[in-house]
Amino acid sequence: MTTSAPERPAAAAPTGSPVLEATGVVMRFGGLTAVNNVDLRVNQGEIVGLIGPNGAGKTTFFNCLTGMYKPTEGQVKFEGTVLPPKPRAVVQAGMARTFQNIRLFANMTALENVMVGRYCRTSAMALTSIVRGPKFRREEEATRARAQELLNFVGLGRTSEHLARNLPYGDQRRLEIARALATDPKLILLDEPTAGMNPKETEEAKQLIFRIRDMGLAVVVIEHDMRFIFSLCDRVLCLVRGETLIEGSPHVVQSDPRVIEAYIGKPDEDELEEEAAKEDHA
């Protein structure tokens, strides 16, 4: 496997300085508060895990960070400046993401998918594209080369001309990562990057995330696979029903009884609550 690391993205801040600071993020859908007053700070070169049971609001929180949702309250600061809730501005600033339910451009080749990721870092406009001067050809060539480099990096170098929809599941997830990396991010948000992967692929994904971190990127990763999360992350945040339950080192979070409880649940307590809810309705 070729593992030539791509060049480091633009001016790296000194290690440890905060890249992302989200404070007091609230997201309500009608009466449902999916994310309630969540803070997250991510430092450069750090891998942060985001865990929590189904429906805890993890994906919604990602959507708030990346401008796909406009948070009801709170603000998202990236490298010291507040981001507008516009996906394009967020990508431009240097934050890229992958999706829990894979959202590749299915009928494009792997290479073309990654080339789309280069869109915001290239500039050829209509007239340039029609006239095709040397500048256009240079940029097009560079885009192609960079996309191929990223495909090599995630281990898809030999399937660059395959259609995204024809790729196996695990490869599609890695292709999404390559596409996100193509935007030259400083922070990458991965939403369940190993869902549906076998143990071998999961291990490869872990190594890939380490390599991404080693390039100087910060990583936030949502996962349900606890062993994966606790062996990967520098810090873990656990969300339950939209609220931060606990944040800390993997060791601390792992041994906190409330986390286990949130996942497994205390049967009797749940039943009590359900009954309470029924009474409320009545």
């Binding site: 996906p87 394009r88 009928n107 494009m108 080749t109 209509a126 594209s129 097009e140 001309e161 259609l163």
Partner: protein, 569 residues
């Protein structure tokens, strides 16, 4: 030798019975064509002379010769050809074509001669031959080793194939245009369709698709040369050139619309209004006695102004609507088309400024003059007279070339990739940093720009502009050409536009029931080939999300087409 082992399964040296039956069928088919089919000379061209085949008999001879070629392929005529062509499937399609063709001919003789008593034995000899071909070819086993896209021939052979195809297209088009007799024209269409299906089923077109991708430039130049040479085949006759010019202006407009619909995926139901805007601006600035703008700049300036006015309208319509989701655009553009028509209908001085002369339009637009070249005059080139329509035809050809260049270059660029991404998944595209709104607006206004350009020429070519030339129905026909031909391809639009313009010209029935036939045609297309006759691969994939086989095939062909280039690099 290993090749003889692999071919052995197919080219069995001992002829099988079905092979012999088919051969006899082919022989009868051809022999029958050299005999008289009916002694009524006025029928279907003249089919009454022995040993002197008339036009439709020549169609059948071509079918017979192709059938013979397929039969010989099965006996190993060329080593390796069994990989390129599935002769059994080709033969089946050919024989069905021949049989259907002959049944129709017999019916026509029965109806028009009138009476089958007027049929000569030749027609039955050919009919029996066609039926024998059907009987033989349908029991012939298909060839599982066919894999046309992996066949590599020297590049000069590939170019020769392209040149041959284009030559056939040129002669086919000239013949179809020159055909006065509606019945013969219909039979010609049947013959043509059968031929195309036979070659497609044999696998020739998937191979052709790969070499076309590899030799894109040769095809473009070749097609342009063919289109350029066409007026020279007409001997100064205006009848066909007038149709050809109309086809070309329709195709040119449809090409512009295909950038909007096919590439950017925006449904624009009022495109004709942009053409109309261009035409009106050009008319108002012309030397017509009814033109109400005093400034008369040279035509090249008028073209630019028309295009700019159209695209400005595009920006005005587009910027509020393109931010919201897709369906609104269709409704707004539909309304815009109506507003345009009503506006030009009413700007006659009674209510509002006197600009467009109301329902009467602007008549008497003089012929174009660029430099000292007057488009109304007949010019002699190499002794061949080229009349008024030929002049406009050449000008439109230049415009078409510009639009095709814009189309293909945008398609293969950062912008084109952005459009595909938007079509595939707008949200994901946005999340990856693609400027969704900007790209949509650009496609919309750019399409309007090109329509304005075409419109400024159309005004002069039509001599007058009136509001009723720019009605919704025309927008619908433009869209129909794209849907029929194929979204997102140049060749598709050219085919679609040609079919839609040529059919009503040549067939009374289609002209009388234009909406009915086009409607039926579109319903059939939606049911059987929603991606159009000559679709872009990507569009075919989009229309068949669940077809894993198709995806594999297209991927293989794509890899086949790009690999040699990378090998060289």
């Amino acid at each position: 030798m290993t090749t003889s082992q692999t071919t052995a399964a197919v080219s069995n040296p001992r002829p099988s019975s079905q092979w012999l039956i088919t051969l006899v069928g082919v022989a009868l088919l051809i022999i029958g064509c050299f005999l008289s089919w009916s002694y009524v000379p006025a029928l279907l061209g003249n089919l009454s002379v022995n040993f002197f085949p008339g036009a439709i008999q020549i169609f059948m001879i071509i079918v017979g010769v192709l059938g013979l070629f397929f039969l010989l392929l099965r006996k190993g005529l060329f080593p390796g050809a069994h990989k390129l062509l599935d002769s059994a499937r080709g033969l089946r399609a050919l024989s069905v074509t021949a049989a259907a063709f002959m049944v129709l001919v017999v019916i026509v003789i029965g109806l028009q001669a009138p009476g089958l008593a007027n049929a000569d034995p030749g027609v039955f000899v050919t009919l029996v031959g066609a039926l024998a071909m059907v009987a033989g070819s349908f029991r012939m086993p298909s060839d599982p080793t066919v894999d046309p896209i992996t066949v590599h021939l020297p590049s000069w052979v590939e170019i020769l194939v392209i040149v041959a195809m284009l030559t056939v297209v040129l002669f086919g088009a000239a013949y179809a245009l020159g055909q006065e007799d509606g019945t013969v024209f219909s039979l010609f269409l049947l013959f043509l369709a059968g031929l195309v299906v036979a070659l497609a089923r044999a696998g020739l077109f998937s191979w052709f698709g790969v070499i076309a991708q590899r030799n894109r430039r040769v095809i473009m130049l070749g097609a342009f040369a063919v289109a350029f040479l066409f007026p020279f085949t007409q001997n100064g006759s205006d009848a066909n050139m007038s149709i050809a010019t109309q086809v070309l202006i329709f195709a040119t407009t449809a090409l512009g619309l295909n950038i909007v619909v096919g590439l950017a995926g925006l449904l624009d139901l009022g495109y004709i209004a942009f053409l109309g805007a261009g035409a009106y601006v050009s008319a108002m600035m012309s030397h017509s006695a009814f033109a109400n703008i005093g400034w008369k700049p040279p035509f090249l300036v008028v073209v630019i102004i028309s295009a700019i006015v159209s695209s400005a309208l595009g920006l005005i319509i587009g910027s509020p609507t393109l931010r919201v989701s897709g369906d609104y655009l269709a409704i707004v553009t539909l309304a815009f088309g109506e507003i345009f028509r009503l506006t030009v209908n009413n700007l006659d001085g009674n209510n509002g400024p006197d600009l467009t002369n109301g329902p009467n339009g602007i008549p008497g637009i003089p012929e174009l003059e660029i430099g000292s070249f007057n488009f109304g005059d007949t010019h002699n080139v190499l002794g061949i007279p080229l009349g008024r329509f030929a002049n406009y035809y050449f000008l439109l050809l230049v415009v078409a070339a510009i639009i095709i260049t814009v189309f293909t270059r945008l398609n293969n660029s950062r912008i084109g990739r952005g459009w595909v991404a938007i079509r595939e998944d707008e949200k994901a595209a946005e999340a990856m940093g693609v400027n969704v709104f900007g790209l949509k607006l650009f496609a919309f206004a750019g399409g309007a720009f090109l329509a304005g350009m075409a419109g400024s020429i159309k005004a002069h070519q039509d001599v007058s502009v009136t509001p009723d030339q720019y009605i919704f129905l025309e927008s619908a026909f433009l869209l129909a050409a794209i849907v029929l031909g194929g979204m997102g391809t140049v060749a598709g639009v050219l085919v679609g536009a040609t079919v839609l313009k040529l059919l009503p010209e040549k067939l009374r029935f289609v002209a009388d029931y234009r909406l009915l036939t086009f409607g039926l045609l579109l319903v059939l297309m939606m049911r059987f080939r929603p991606e159009g006759l000559v679709p872009s691969q990507r569009r075919a994939l989009e229309f068949h999300e669940d077809d894993a086989d198709l995806a594999e095939r297209i991927e293989d062909a794509h890899i086949e087409a790009v690999t040699p280039m990378e090998g060289r690099a």
